[in-house]
């Protein structure tokens, strides 16, 4: 018996290695950040840059992939970075545990 899982994707950001937002789209966003889109992109990129630096210092062991995702009480942020520095960021609801393959698919197709 196949169960159909309802998953919600809120939005998707794609950044290049310099922090420029190459693509943004939202499908199901209920709350805006309260700042302009330009500022939001900068804040998002800055947060991810800081999280990556934080994780590389905090990590007790050597990492291969590094930061994968984080979750709050209401959403989950998935992160995928290519070797060329392209960053894919997707916010979903909490039911999605692993969107890495999806992001990799978006990158390679």
């Amino acid at each position: 018996m196949l169960f159909e899982e309802k998953m919600t994707v809120h939005n998707l950001y794609i950044f290049d290695r310099n922090g420029n937002c190459l693509y943004y789209n939202e499908w199901n966003r209920k709350k805006q950040a309260g700042i302009s889109k330009e500022e939001e992109f900068k804040l998002m990129y800055g947060m991810l840059f800081s999280i990556r630096s934080f994780v590389s210092k905090m990590s007790p062991l050597d990492m291969k992939e590094g930061f994968l995702s984080f979750q709050t009480s209401k959403y989950r942020l998935h992160y995928y970075e290519t070797p060329s520095g392209l960053k894919f960021v997707m916010n979903t609801d909490l039911s999605v545990t692993n969107a890495r393959d999806t992001l990799q698919h978006i990158y390679s197709n």
């Binding site: 209920k30 309260g34 939001e40 800081s50 905090m58 590094g66 959403y75």
Partner: protein
């Protein structure tokens, strides 16, 4: 290549079975051992008030080198780190931990000589250097805790959903960071193995221990560093219980 089984010279086929079982269970124990790496407590303002390292696995490699050194080293954050030349367990980002068995002090050897200068001199070779992940200094831990405090808040601000909390769980391929923020703004942060279960219960338990042994301590001031012996003791035993419980959970 696959399917090659090591045949142990045994008395009877039954012995062989017993030995295989032993090896299997030992292997299972090794992979099932899950640990809680560390605990951080951050106050309302983002300052670190308590830190405990339960288990710090150190990936280290000690090798003897001859002149010239084929690794490229550089100064970074008052340490000497590998910049290029990753090989044999020595990764980029690993720091020089000791030279010829003697621990280094920051950028200098124990004698006070600059490490890079020392390693440029051919007369000092062959030299034995130990590389590994550098331990975090207290200052670095303070900075990282404050950094997380801010990231926690930004996670809430950038939420596409209404009423989101800050970052409650952050996942990497090597560890998982869990954070519980109390109603008074104190954050309890636990770094653990990604497969470890029961961390939510552990975070609540640490909150309980904080209330019982720090807050109820008449000599403890709010938002200040926690220096209460009973807090340390109870925290350690709570971690032990959580590790054991987590192991059972994963095995079944």
């Amino acid at each position: 290549m696959s399917g090659r089984k090591e045949v142990h010279p045994c008395e009877s086929p039954l012995d062989n079975l017993y030995m295989r079982k032993l090896v299997l269970s030992a292997g299972q124990d090794a992979t099932a051992k899950m640990v809680i790496f560390s605990v951080y407590v951050v106050n309302k303002a983002g300052g670190l008030i308590y830190q405990y390292d339960n288990y710090v696995p150190r990936a280290e490699a000690e090798k003897t080198f001859s002149y010239p050194l084929d690794l490229v080293l550089k100064h970074h954050d008052e340490k000497v780190v590998v910049s290029f030349g990753q090989r044999d367990g020595i990764r980029v980002g690993h720091a020089v931990l000791s030279i010829n068995g003697v621990d280094v002090i920051g950028k200098n050897t124990a004698d006070g000589k600059d490490i890079l200068e020392y390693l440029k001199d051919a007369s000092n070779y062959p030299v034995s250097i130990r590389f590994g992940r550098a331990r975090l200094s207290s200052n670095e831990k303070l900075m990282l805790a404050s950094m997380f405090h801010s990231l926690f808040a930004i996670g809430s601000q950038l939420s596409p959903e209404v009423g989101s909390s800050g970052i409650e769980m952050l996942e990497t391929d090597v560890f998982k960071l869990h954070c519980f923020q109390t109603l008074t703004g104190i954050k309890f942060i636990v770094l653990a193995d990604p497969r470890q279960s029961g961390i939510d219960a552990l975070l609540r338990k640490i909150y309980e221990i904080y209330s019982d042994f720090a807050l109820k301590n008449p000599f403890y001031s709010l938002e200040m560093p926690i220096r209460c012996e009973l807090f340390d003791q109870n925290l350690k035993s709570a971690l032990e219980v959580a590790e054991k419980a987590g192991n059972f959970g994963a095995g079944s």
